[in-house]
Amino acid sequence: MFAYIVRRVVSGIILIIVMSLVTFLLFFASPIDPARFACGKNCSPALQEQTRKALGYDDPVFVQWGDFLKGVVQGRDYPSDPALRKTAPATIAHCPAPCLGYSKLSNDTVLNLVKNAFPVSLSLAIVAFIIWISGGIAFGVIAALKKGTIIDRGIVGISLVFFAFPTFFVGLFLYQFIAIQWQIVPIPNYVSIADGGFFTWLVGLLLPGLTLALFYMAGYVRMTRAFVLESMGEDYLRTANAKGLAPRKVLVKHSMRAALTPLVTMAGLDLASLVGGAIITETVFNYNGLGKLAVTAARNLDLPLTVGIVLLLATFVIMANIIVDVLYAFIDPRVRVG
């Protein structure tokens, strides 16, 4: 088991390094000059040249990539110039140890920008996750138990409909009608737990959380339903019923166990990509999470910030993959081999 985890972690780290190289090649080998956009409006050619030097854009892509990796481990200075450090330390922007880059446009390190946005995305992901996982499993089990009836069809049909409407339409619809027109909930707004307490935090996240959950729920309803139905034909379930186990226990302990492994996989990966920012939902509800940050970065062609977010998100996904695989190995011993 330990060897398995080590193997997965090592291959994950290699994957992250390769991915960072590919990202650098994609973004810095393009015909767009990053210095022009980092320099901002009203930029003179001389200033642009200075910015290029300060941010290291005059180096070859591979050197830039090497500097980036070095920066992640030991931090770096912009510009990295020991002479300047002695004469005018105020002009140097220091980016401490896990340095993911420096956004000249925001005059801040990428890590700081991400740190500010992260709690919003994380909160949103958690609320959405709780709604969709409980809703998905509950409706999936109900649909399976009432297989073929109108309840079953209704649940599967409605979840498919919510899945099919574009997320931003559902979000805007909820926003427009539930919050503004009918005023069932207050207008969604992110308030951290530290500022407004748990309840205010939750209420503020209800509509965007629901928007995301409605989209994700469809898959979980279908999967839970399919696996519970499949397990109903199995011998071990007949045995459980025959020995007089309470129906509820049969359902929870035997039937749903079959659905657990695929659900863990799906939930882990979905959650990981959500933690990295729900681009559409955050834009619709105007929440300053990672998704919104990414949109702003991409619009302004703020390359260091964009690259930082892409790398961070991809790292989340890779790590989630590893965690899911390890969990999988715990749940299902057959996976450990190979």
Partner: protein, 336 residues
């Protein structure tokens, strides 16, 4: 098919002899059986009809525009059509529905909504279809090579799959939009919507192939061990023949299913991209574009806001149902 029907008539002739009570058994190929199963599934058939209608609309719309039946571009912004005093909302029932404008007019500009939607279907389906073709082609080729060759090649393609999967797709589309369009223009494609559409197609396709490659690889691993592959090998068939003449024809069932399940994902993706303003630019209509345009009128002209979203939802649901139906029909063991 000819062999099986010959066989059927042959057995009917010899074994049944002159007994008229026994009908000769008509042999049916697995494909025919699957199609019969699909036809029995009413929901999938209904969905199939809907998909067919969309495809037909999509194909016919450009001709409609050319011959003046559809008019998605001209403005009707005079006071006769729009209520100039209150935000240029169309006059009349549900956004100005009339005989000449069956789905009303667009608020603000007064363009014909029905024409724009039908023409939008053309662009949305073209983008989704092209992106699906790119994704399925890459996935199929890499999957076949990976499964058939094995060894280092298989491992390399496997890592490439992992790498591609780890990129956040929506974010990449958004982040690359400025750069990649510039690259496409540099490669000689005229700037504007052609480059923009090409960008959407390429990025969707280039990031969308991994699941297909995995499925194909899994299938190829079992096909590889079959006798006809051995026979082809003994006859000295070249690689290309092995891949495309021996292996590929055995893959059409999973590919067809995957194709119909990827299409709706890309139709939704196009809408999301339009919302993020990285899809084809207006005035060219796509379903996503029209929906994005309608957002600011969501409360003033709800019908205009709802229609494009509804059209997207219907085609997405239909494609998914057809895909599910095909999967159940083609793989009876997987039937739930």
């Amino acid at each position: 098919m000819t062999i099986s029907s010959d066989l059927a008539s042959h057995t009917a002739d010899t074994s049944l002899g002159t007994d008229p009570a026994l009908e000769p058994v008509a042999g049916r190929s697995p494909t025919q059986l699957a199609m019969a199963r699909f036809r029995k599934d009413k929901l999938s058939m209904a969905a199939f009809v809907v998909v067919a209608v969309y495809l037909l609309l999509g194909i016919l719309a450009p001709f409609g525009v050319k011959f003046g039946i559809l008019d998605p571009f001209s403005f009707h912004s005079s006071a006769k059509y729009l209520d100039i005093e209150s935000g240029s909302i169309p006059k009349g029932f549900m956004g100005g529905i009339s005989w000449s404008h069956p789905l009303g007019l667009e608020p603000g500009t007064g363009r014909d909504v029905a024409s724009r939607l039908v023409y939008g279907v053309t662009f949305s389906l073209t983008i989704a279809l092209s992106a699906t073709i790119v994704a399925v082609s890459i996935g199929t080729v890499l999957g076949i090579v990976s499964g058939f060759v094995g060894g280092y090649v298989d491992a390399a393609i496997g890592r490439l799959t992992d790498l591609t999967l780890s990129f956040p797709q929506t974010l990449m589309l958004l982040a690359l939009s400025g750069l990649a369009v510039a690259m496409i223009v540099q490669a000689g494609v005229p700037a504007g919507n052609v480059a923009q559409a090409l960008f959407v197609i390429l990025v969707l396709g280039l990031f969308g192939w991994p699941p297909i490659a995995r499925i194909v690889r899994g299938q190829v691993l079992s096909i590889r061990e079959r006798e006809f592959i051995e026979a082809a090998k003994l006859m000295g068939a070249p690689r290309r023949r092995m891949y495309f003449k021996e292996v590929l024809p055995n893959l059409w069932a999973p590919l067809l299913v995957y194709f119909t399940l990827t299409m709706p994902a890309y139709i939704s993706a196009e809408a999301a991209l339009a919302y993020l303003q990285v899809s084809v630019k207006p005035p060219t209509p796509t379903l996503g574009n029209i929906l994005t345009d309608s957002i600011s009128y969501s409360s003033a002209d709800f019908f205009f806001f709802f229609t494009p979203a509804f059209l997207i939802a219907v085609i997405v649901v239909s494609f998914n149902l057809v895909g599910d139906g095909l999967r159940d029909a083609l793989d009876p063991r997987g039937a739930r």
